[in-house]
Symmetry: C2
Subunit: 323 residues, 2 copies
């Protein structure tokens, strides 16, 4: 299933979101050319899953594009802002096949660009004119940054449980997926039970998405992903594949050796190899599929519309994707 | 004039803001002790000028503390968030007599703490239930981060005009002062002309405040200021004192030598000395006083209340302060 086909019911709306992005970029061209360049570097070419969720979840009931489009724009801007900060924090060099903002302009300017994008996201959320959505937006940013901090404090720690992992990825990924869906539902005056169904769908989709992300960091190729693999282990982030490997091979485990002697960069490759050559990848895919199924379970209770089918297909796409 | 006397009309309200800060800190004690420590490190002991502005400007008309207090809290949180990021960007080691967040926990965690504080500020702004105020909040963060970026891109550039300087400090300081006042005025249902008077007052106060800040970076002692002086020059930030020195002594100027050969750290002390031993400090104080006067000009058009007197006194305090 091609992603363009899945997005078909909101294709024109996504083009409008893209137009807003172009406007944000163009507005800085004359007054601040260096900034214009930074913005045009980051405001292109994402998977646009989050704005699609806002739009798809926002079309079951009485929607008004005047409210829905700004929120879709806010969902993607918030996502990009967190990516800019994440890359600065991780000192990453490559994303989406291109050098990161921090690689080109330095970490200092990446921090400020991220702040600017948070502000723009906030402006678009406020432009919906809906206070519940604005509050949800602020709360989501709070949860995400706290989750990232928690991850940062747990770096290179071996004693982490599956629940710790779940808490971490709920905050850093599923919260934003959930916000994207809930805001769309709320803005289209969905009844509270439907809001809850769409929120649950998207939250579980977010969990599945992150589990697959964590798998791809082990098995994906740089050509497919547009960024180097193995970044989680080198940051000391214990994700599900490594966690399961530790569980199955508690003695003499290459992940254990890496975390206990983190300065030895040569410990990374054996750890990645060990995960790849084990059954944990399959196991992780089963976990991801479980969350996908859990998320999709109640979609059938929603009114039938082209968007509903897309949501189900998107859930499959998220498991199968190679980047 | 002691600052406590100036704040007298809003003393109890400021205590409530402090209570909110304590709550933010305490809420993390059990679930996330490391984060609790970070929050308790930054959420104490500022000059609380910005929340005082929200409160003082919010008491001329029909105010409701249920709206005014969250906004005062938001004003200070937004300020602290920008400080945390600024210190990370400048790699500063000391603020308010204590090590900075980035010094203790590293720049990576400082970025995330700042993001969290932006989110909390946004939550409190949204808690006012007033969309105009929420939009103003987001726009202010946008202006601040863009201004900081502009400053960052103009580092070590000699060809800057007074207008460039004014644009820069309008964005990085006066915008937040202005927001603090405007939000208070709006929430207390001030007529539009009064909103404008309070906004102008606070904006000009912000300019005066930043000019004095830039003076103190040259003449203040570390004992008084709680942080080392000369930081602007070492960051390559051309502030008014250095700018005026360049204007008066265009040839063989130590600031020029420093900016042209920024790696020579020994060029900093002579540049600071040259500013101190010149008339530019007096000149800068005249500029600051001019903005104070401009800001206070129309205060007399507002209803007479204890807060009005405090605003005038605060303007004088801002010029005279030693830190």
């Amino acid at each position: 299933m091609r992603i363009a086909t899945i997005y078909q019911p909101v294709r024109e709306d996504l083009a409008e979101v893209e137009k807003q992005f172009k406007l944000i970029v163009e507005n800085q061209r004359a007054p601040f050319p260096e900034f214009h360049e930074m913005l045009s570097h980051v405001l292109v070419g994402g998977k646009v899953i989050r704005p699609s969720l806002t739009l798809l979840c926002g079309k079951f009931y009485n929607y008004d594009l005047v409210e829905l489009l700004p929120m879709a724009t806010a969902s993607e801007l918030l996502h990009i802002a967190t990516l800019v900060h994440d890359d600065a924090i991780d000192h990453s060099s490559v994303r989406r096949f291109r050098p990161t903002v921090n690689k080109i302009w330095g970490e200092e300017k990446a921090i400020l660009l991220g702040d600017y994008l948070f502000a723009m996201a906030g402006k678009f959320a406020a432009a919906t004119g809906n206070l519940r959505v604005v509050k949800l937006f602020a709360e989501t940013l709070r949860v995400i940054s706290r989750g990232e901090l928690k991850q940062s404090f747990s770096a290179f720690k071996l004693e982490q449980t599956f629940d710790d992992y779940l808490e971490r990825i709920s905050a850093k990924t599923a919260a934003l997926f959930s916000m994207a869906a809930e805001s769309g539902a709320v803005l289209s005056q969905a009844p509270e039970e439907s809001v809850q169904i769409l929120k649950d769908y998207s939250f579980n989709l977010g969990i599945a998405f992150q589990v697959v992300d964590d798998i791809l960091d082990f098995i994906g190729t740089e050509e497919e992903m547009g960024k180097p693999g193995g970044s989680d282990l080198s940051q000391g982030t214990l994700t599900l594949p490594a966690m399961l490997l530790l569980k199955h091979y508690p003695e003499d485990n290459p992940v254990k050796r890496l975390f206990e002697d983190r300065d030895k960069r040569e410990n990374i490759a054996p750890a990645i190899e060990a995960v790849r050559n084990s059954s944990v990848i399959d196991e992780c895919y089963q976990v991801a599929s479980g969350y996908r199924d859990k998320g999709c379970r109640n979609l059938k209770l929603l009114p039938d519309c082209p968007g509903r089918r897309s949501l189900a297909e998107l859930a499959d796409y998220i498991i199968q994707r190679k980047r």
